[in-house]
């Protein structure tokens, strides 16, 4: 029956798309548990017969990993790096603080823009241009400026940079949430003697708190995943997870596939988790609220 | 003569729910038939099956004698007008009309001829270059109808095309639509929940209820001789008056008693003993300002002035009754005398909702 066949073919196409979407992630996780001699074997090992946690040990417990390697022949005597704990700690601190500031500043600004039409119709757009410029174009002067202000390679400097570059997202996303909330309720509250800010905080904010939470998670993801600023604005005092991934890579000595994959798998897990929590709002975020779902 | 459209025992099940059940209906060429019923009665499903968007669970759709049940919508020679008109908003009116013709691969000259003819008939000349999105409701309706008709379909299906319009526009468009249909001698299946639309335009009306056709007939029939209490209730404005009545059978005869009348007899086989309902249309209630021997007294509670006529809401015993009179006939608080002819009484069986008429009616 051709109709049945058509449906079958369409479902097959969906399955193929799912496989393609999942495959690189599968490979990342699969490699992360491969012992050293299977990382770059030919033919490649798809699923290891000898899965090991050694790569994860190298990431988190370099000393223990080394002791393990010494006992086990056939295990990699990798170059010793520091533990990745610091990277996770730093990334968590920076991402959380930057997210908080971005959301706080963004909410205030969005409130002002929506309720008072502050700055006229083009004002909000001005923030978007921040997102349009390639960060690499301003990275050189930021390095110069941050050096002057003693902000290079500090938490505060990173937080400042991340806050600024996520503000367009938070302002535009929160703006779209506030616009959807009914203004009449605020008006009613003000008739009952609340100030406008109070009315906003007590009436509108609870209505849009789900949206703001989604925005916060979204911005956290952006911060957590950021690489270029981390690469350029830090020099060892601050280490982010994306940098730590690069720490297992080098132009001269090749890549530690398994270790990198382990680091990649762990660093990407929270992002995927948060991503699914805010799945409904992800598109809105990535399109500055232009596409709602 | 082959019917333009024939539905043969059409049924549709969605899981446990039977949306349409064994529905049969035939439309003669040039006939205007309405499917009338409240929302959820299965009329839209029927339409979807006829148009080809829903495959029927059982039964067949036959157009011009050809079984079209498995044919995709585009090849059924059926024109379709949607409730929201579905005018292609990104295309010009001309392109809207062209759309179906291009699909039919007609020669260019023929397309042009048809479009111009249709534009003239529906007075679309000034709209041809406008984008679909820029039209108002009545313009859209005309474009939607023109778009369907220009393909010269065997059958035109209209799905509640007036429900988005305001009342005054509706009245005007009803006439317009009927006129076009007559001019073109176009067979139409018209789906609506509005009895006025159905009554005013249809050659025949099929009243639907819970997936079945309750009654098929001319507007006349349906109005004066409703087959069931449901039909009687659906048709008519203001709605039919319902009064309780009692049936007492003796031998082959059955006597009905109600506050409105005395001594009407029915065939005893038609109605069992006991409490039933009696329906009488407000237009059929005769009202007199003076007492008459065969009239009953009632008092006017309030008056609804419709301009051309008044509706009196009468207090009559323990029940309320509406009656239509010329304007200024009576005022609130006055007493009037009323009567209903036995042949205009519709006795509605409590058990199966069937309407039974008085003997000799």
């Amino acid at each position: 029956m051709p109709r049945r066949l058509a449906i079958f073919l369409r479902r097959m196409a969906v399955v193929v798309a799912m496989v393609i979407a999942f495959f690189p992630i599968f490979w990342l996780f699969s490699t992360s548990v491969k012992p050293y001699d299977e990382w770059a074997a030919w033919p490649p090992v798809w699923i290891s017969d000898h899965p090991t946690l050694q790569n994860y040990r190298i990431v988190f417990f370099p000393k223990a990993a080394r002791a393990f390697a010494a006992k086990q022949s056939g295990s990699l005597d990798y170059k010793v790096s520091g533990s990745a704990w610091k990277a996770f700690e730093d990334s968590a601190i920076i991402s959380t603080c930057a997210t908080f500031l971005s959301i706080l500043f963004g909410t205030l600004a969005a409130f002002s823009i929506v309720r008072f039409r502050t700055g006229g119709p083009n004002y909000a757009f001005q923030f978007l241009t921040v997102r349009m410029m390639p960060p690499i174009a301003v990275v050189v002067p930021i390095v110069a400026l941050f050096s002057m202000l003693r902000l290079a390679d500090t938490y505060f400097g990173m937080i400042l940079a991340y806050t600024a570059f996520t503000l367009p997202f938070s302002i535009w996303m929160i703006r779209s949430f506030i616009e959807e909330a009914p203004q009449e309720l605020e008006g009613a509250a003000m008739i009952h003697g609340m100030g406008q800010m109070e009315a906003f905080i007590k009436v509108t904010l609870p209505l849009v708190k789900g949206g703001i939470l989604a925005t916060a998670l979204f911005i956290f993801i952006l911060n957590w995943s950021e690489f270029l600023f981390a690469l350029v604005l830090t020099s060892g005092n601050v280490v982010t997870v994306t940098l730590q991934v690069a720490n297992y890579v080098s132009a001269s000595s090749g890549k530690l596939y398994g270790v990198q994959a382990a680091m990649g798998a762990i660093s990407t897990l929270p992002v995927i988790l948060f991503g699914y929590i805010i799945q409904r709002h992800l598109v809105r975020g990535l399109t500055f609220g232009a596409v709602k779902r | 003569m082959t019917p333009r459209l024939e539905m043969r025992g059409l049924s549709k099940r969605f899981g446990d729910v039977e949306a349409v059940s064994k529905l049969s209906l035939a439309l003669a060429p040039g006939e205007f038939v309405s499917l009338l019923g409240p929302s959820g009665c299965g009329k839209s499903t029927t339409l979807a099956m006829v148009a080809g968007f829903e495959p029927p669970t059982a039964g067949a759709v036959v157009v011009d004698g050809k079984d079209m049940t498995g044919t995709p919508p585009g090849r059924r020679r059926i024109g379709l007008v949607f409730q929201d008109y579905a005018v292609f908003s990104r295309l010009s009116v001309r392109d809207n009309l062209l759309f179906g013709l291009e699909a039919q691969r007609l020669p260019r000259s023929e397309r042009k001829r048809r479009i111009e003819a249709m534009a003239e008939k529906l007075e679309l000349g000034s709209l041809m270059r406008r984008r679909g999105a820029s039209l108002n409701m009545s313009e859209m309706q005309r474009v939607a109808i023109a778009r369907a008709l220009v393909t010269e379909p065997s059958l035109l299906l209209l799905d509640e095309p007036m429900s988005n319009l305001d009342a005054s526009l509706r009245a005007a468009l009803r006439g317009e639509l009927k006129l076009i249909q007559k001019q073109l001698d176009q067979t139409v299946l018209y789906v609506t929940h509005d009895q006025i639309e159905a009554m005013s335009m249809s050659d025949r009306i099929a009243v639907m209820r819970a997936g079945r056709i309750e009654q098929i007939g001319t507007p006349e029939d349906i109005y004066h001789r409703p087959a069931t209490g449901f039909v009687a209730g659906v048709i008519g404005d203001p709605p039919i008056n319902l009064v309780a009545c009692t049936v007492k059978r003796s031998g082959t005869k059955a006597a009905v008693a109600s506050p409105l009348h005395k001594g009407v007899e029915l065939e005893s086989a038609d109605m069992p003993d006991g409490e039933h309902a009696l329906g009488v249309r407000p237009h059929d209630v005769k009202v007199s300002r003076r007492p008459r021997s065969d009239h009953l007294q009632a008092s006017v509670r309030f008056v609804e002035n419709l301009g051309a006529e008044n509706i009196l809401h009468l207090e009559f015993g323990s029940s309320l009754l509406a009656a239509v009179t010329p304007p200024g006939f009576a005022a609130a608080g006055e007493d009037v005398w009323i009567k209903a002819e036995p042949r205009q009484l519709h006795f509605i069986r409590r058990d199966d909702d069937r309407v039974v008429r008085a003997k000799g009616a």
């Binding site: 005597d77 500090t154 080098s250 001269s252 | -």
Partner: protein
């Protein structure tokens, strides 16, 4: 001790002096007066004296040292740091940055002057840029004060420690580029006969690039799973091989007036030979970095490999199928005027340098003196998982190090170290070399002819030199040239 490493020519220090004094008009010779004060500081226990001095300098102050090091070098740095802390009470903190990024990070500190580190371990070739940026402390004054006269005599390669005649940091890593061969294949009598029948000379560790190329071609039988070589062809590595091939033809990369000579006939021939040799490499050569490279050579199905001490650490481990079946050699040379010219090449290395914004540069210097002392550097080099390869003569006698590398290898390594030509230690090294890399990779990929690639590169070099300041570059170039190993210096044009 001097005898031990002094295989050829005068000692390194003598060479440096010669280079410096040979340049009349440039006052850059504090070397001569060096060590006057430090007479009483003996080399043997310099680590103790340096630590004691540091402790004294720190006094009751709360001093700590921050070291910025490339990722993966903790195994070399931390054991020494721990001993330092034990000896001085001065704690050491480690900042790890991606290996490829460390020079950039040190340089950016010149801009930010944030004092984020006291010591760093940049790659040696970046010292000219870093010195010019002002972020490095010119160590001459401290060396004069503390460095024992014979401190560097035992160090096999020190050119990279100096820029324009001044000391900027101590070398920690013997990163000379040398060759590994499949000994079984070399020793196979049938192969030997077949090869010498065809080429008229014996199949043995090759002396020249020409011989190496011939041998790789000879052994390249992909259908039998045998490959000629595991030389690098990724962009980052490819220029080094050409650098060796080019020097082996008897030329400096720059003329005395800084005109590039890289695009002369020798340069073009060297590049064409390199491209021709690409045919005899194993399939992964074009993508593989160091790690994948020695892993591949460890399979034992390839004839020749190029690499550093780290390569040997792997090849000599249980993971390598070729363990114990290896022959070693300098990077091949060439015949110049009928005589063999070898130009081994020191192309990486890490130097301890002191930050000019460190609050305690003197203590930081003392740490580098401590860490590079014979005893401490031996401990650092011992780490089997680190980067550091033997650099001092004394390292070659350490049983643990001998076990890691094999004595046979160490002989070759030492020979190569002593004769190594320096990398291109000029300001803008990154730019010069990247230009070279891009062009050579393009020529190897076939998108440019060898001549066009080198002409383009030479043109870029001229522009870079002009931008960097010709006078300044000229000073360093002449200093560098004067410090090429003596036996080679005289034969290069």
């Amino acid at each position: 001790m001097k005898r031990l490493f002094n295989g050829i020519g005068p000692s390194r220090r003598d060479v440096l002096k010669a280079g410096a004094t040979g340049l009349a008009g440039f006052a850059m010779s504090p070397l001569l007066g060096r060590g006057a004060h430090a007479e009483q500081w003996a080399l043997k226990n310099i680590h103790e004296t340096a630590a004691a001095k540091a402790k004294e300098l720190a006094g009751s102050r709360n001093v700590s040292l921050k070291i910025m090091q490339p990722s993966g070098s903790l195994g070399n740095v931390k054991p020494v740091g721990d001993l330092w802390t034990k000896a001085t009470g001065i704690p050491v903190h480690y900042l790890e940055v991606p290996l490829g990024e460390i020079n950039q990070k040190v340089l950016l500190e010149a801009v930010s002057k944030s004092g984020s580190f006291d010591l760093a371990l940049p790659a040696t070739f970046g010292i000219p840029d870093l010195a010019e940026s002002g972020i490095l402390v010119n160590l001459d004054k401290y060396a004069q004060k503390y460095e024992p006269t014979d401190y560097q005599k035992d160090v096999l390669y020190t050119i990279g420690d100096y820029y324009k005649g001044s000391l900027y940091g101590y070398q920690t890593d013997g990163d000379t580029y040398l060759m590994f061969y499949n000994k079984d294949w070399l020793d196979n009598a049938d192969e030997q006969k077949g090869f010498s029948d065809k080429h008229g000379y014996a199949l043995k560790v090759p002396d020249t690039w020409e011989q190496l190329d011939a041998m790789m071609e000879w052994f390249h039988r992909p259908d039998k799973g045998m490959y000629g070589g595991a030389l690098f062809r990724t962009q980052y590595f490819i220029a080094w091989e050409w650098w060796g091939r080019f020097h082996a033809k008897g030329f400096y990369p720059l003329a005395d007036d800084l005109t590039p000579q890289i695009n002369n006939d020798a340069g073009i021939a060297a590049l064409e030979e390199l491209i021709a040799a690409s045919k005899f490499l194993y399939p992964g050569a074009r993508t593989n970095g160091l790690f994948e490279n020695f892993e591949a050579f460890g399979k034992g199905d390839k004839f020749a490999d190029i690499g550093w001490g780290g390569t040997q650490k792997f090849l000599n481990s249980d993971k390598s199928k070729i363990k114990g079946r290896l022959a070693f050699g300098d990077m091949p040379g060439g015949m110049v005027n009928g005589e063999l010219l070898r130009t081994p090449y020191f192309n990486w290395g890490w130097n301890y340098v002191v930050s000019s914004v460190s609050p305690d540069p003197e203590i930081a210097y003392l740490f580098s003196l401590f860490a590079c002392s014979p005893v401490m550097s031996t401990i650092a080099v011992r780490d089997p998982g680190g980067y550091f390869d033997p650099i001092r003569g004394i390292h070659y006698k350490d049983p643990q190090i001998q076990k890691t590398y094999t004595e046979e290898f160490l002989v070759a390594h030492k020979h190569s170290m002593i004769n190594s030509i320096p990398d291109f230690y000029l300001k803008g090294q990154g730019e010069y070399f990247d230009e070279l890399r891009v062009n050579i990779a393009a020529a190897d990929a076939g998108t440019k002819t060898a001549k066009a690639a080198l002409d383009d590169c030479a043109a870029s070099w001229e522009r870079i030199t002009r931008r960097m300041g010709k006078r300044s570059q000229s000073v360093q170039w002449h200093f560098l040239k004067a410090n090429y190993p003596a036996g080679i210096r005289d034969r290069l044009k």
